[in-house]
Amino acid sequence: MWGFIGRRIAHSIISIIGASILIFVVSRLSGDPAALLLPADAPQSALIAMRKTLGLDLPMWRQYLMFAGRAITGDFGQSYSWQMPALMLVLERVPATLQLALSALLFSVLISVPLGILSAVHRGGWIDTFGKSFAMLGQAMPGFWVGLLLILLFSVRLNWLPAFGSGGASHLILPAIALGWYPVAAQMRVVRSAMLDVLESDYIRMGRSIGAPERTLIWKYAFRNAAIPLVTVLGVYFASMLGGAFVIEVIFAWPGLGRTVVDAVFARDFPVVQAGVLFTSILFVVANLLVDLSYGLIDPRIRHHD
């Protein structure tokens, strides 16, 4: 068990280091990284000083080590459109992204779990057909378009919910639905097939034969076991929502990490882009790590032997 945890953590660290190498390489694609890290009107002297800080006359691997060293101490440079350290800015925006991703997760679970269970219980019935069609459609509709349609319907036409910004719960509803839209289909399929497996099992048949009420059997006994594969999928989608909320955050002007990075790309505020992308990758890797580690906790039958 401990060996597994140790190996898994080591892999995650290697992944983060790899991500930082990739970010470093991409930043050097432009020819003059010093110019990227400074505002367009920076004086020549600042440019020369920045080239020295980056060590552009040194071999690549030493430049990377310098970059990594600065990254570890949290020094990604100064954001020139927000006038504050890039890392501070990025850290400030993380809670909003987490809030949005958690709400989206909640939405996707609220829809996919009942729909998946009902599809399995009434296999082949109209609700199963509806679920299948819903899943097919769901996977063909980009989340950002769903977001636009929601704005069109609920903000423009019906005027029920605000179209953008942040504030109370009402501001969260539309972006959460748009972000949680895509995972619904996959989660529903997982719940459905897991439920079908469990409903065939001996202990459910046993329960049925001793006259346990069907409702108790389905929700209390069957779903608990069917929930195990669901948790895995939830974790994976949560990680991808943390790393994929860019477009949704832009559409709804949500003040999270994603929108900040997109804004920074257009402002040519490279220090923020760098810090934001690295931080997004770290969130993504850590979320995936936690999913893997949670297997053993959720399902006592799974033990990681060495």
Binding site: H11, S12, I14, S15, I16, G18, A19, I21, L22, I23, V26, S27, L29, S30, L36, M136, L137, Q139, A140, M141, P142, F144, W145, L148, L149, I151, L152, V156, V236, S240, L242, G243, G244, F246, V247, V250, I251, V261, V262, A264, V265, F266, R268, F270, V273, Q274, G276, V277, T280, S281, F284, V285, N288
Partner: protein
């Protein structure tokens, strides 16, 4: 995601069963094929069938609703946008970008991924560890984040979009092909070819590649929808296709600015994306069930 999840036993279908007999058993997804054929026609012969030039401005006809609404005209079947450009012609023109992007991105991603997976699976040991570690690292950076980063450094264009998408999707092919090669390379005919002195590239292309072709085809068809959505997202953000080229994502980005005036400008390009992805996914599902029934869970 563990390696065990993708270690899949290679297909052992008898070679005698040809394509035709295999195709006959399954119901063809006719509607999807028809929609997809329409999109391909639009992508290849767009100018000939489009009623207007997609970039033709006509401010007098701005915000014309679709023909079935009051105020609409048959001249602009699906209405016009804020500059009086014909939506139908722009949707037809957008099909080309979607098809070009997905074709090149998938060929590139499939080529790189299949080669990497074959090399990793065939040579094993250090090479395998190295390649699969690179795959893991690549997968640990969210695709859009990487795309944003690249867009921040290079100027966005069709070719940047293709490169970014291939960089994102090659890992899929690498993982799955590696799994297949691991079992294929233990087969007698590979061992015999080696003993007979067949060169390694020859073994790769004559003996291994034909055996993973079905898998590649199925994977590629299942990715068309995802690639189209990815391109639309990038273009929507302004980091993909640039004006005056036409892309469905770009149309949606424009339409967002006047969402209160023209509902059709924001719904119709999205419907084009949805129909394309839906038909591609259904065709992909059918191909998978027909050629690779063991991979139903993909």
């Amino acid at each position: 995601m563990t390696d065990t999840a993708i270690t899949i036993v290679a297909s052992a279908q008898p070679a005698a069963r040809g394509w035709v007999s295999r195709l006959r058993g399954k119901r063809l997804p006719w509607i999807s094929l028809a929609i997809f054929a329409l999109i391909i026609i639009a992508a290849t012969g767009g100018e000939a069938i489009a009623p207007h030039d997609p970039n033709e401005l006509n401010l007098a006809a701005a915000f014309r609703p679709p023909s079935w609404e009051s105020g609409g005209s048959l001249d602009y079947l699906l209405g016009t946008d804020n500059l009086g450009r014909d939506i139908l012609s722009r949707i037809i023109a957008g099909a080309r970008v979607s098809m070009i992007t997905s074709f090149y991105a998938i060929v590139l991603a499939g080529g790189i991924g299949a080669l990497a997976g074959m090399v990793a699976g065939y040579f094993g040991k250090f090479v395998d560890t190295l390649i699969m570690r690179i795959v893991d690292i690549q997968m640990s950076i969210p695709a859009l984040a990487l795309a944003l980063m690249i867009a921040a450094v290079l100027s966005p264009s069709l070719s940047t979009v293709i490169v970014v998408i291939s960089l994102t999707y090659w890992t899929w092919y690498a993982r799955i092909v590696r799994g297949e090669i691991l079992s294929l390379k233990e087969r007698d005919y590979v061992a015999l070819a080696k003993v007979a002195g067949v060169s390694t590239p020859m073994i790769f292309f004559r003996h291994l590649l034909p055996n993973i072709m079905n898998t590649l085809l199925v994977l590629a068809s299942l990715q068309v929808g995802q690639v189209i959505i990815f391109e639309a997202s990038l273009s929507f953000l302004g980091l993909g296709i640039q004006n005056p080229d036409v892309s469905w994502g770009l149309m949606l980005a424009d339409a967002r600015n006047y969402i209160t005036n023209a509902w059709w400008a924001i719904t119709l390009p999205g419907i084009a994306i949805m129909l394309t992805c839906l038909s591609a996914n259904l065709i992909g599902d059918w191909l998978r069930d027909t050629f690779d029934p063991k991979r139903r869970q993909l």
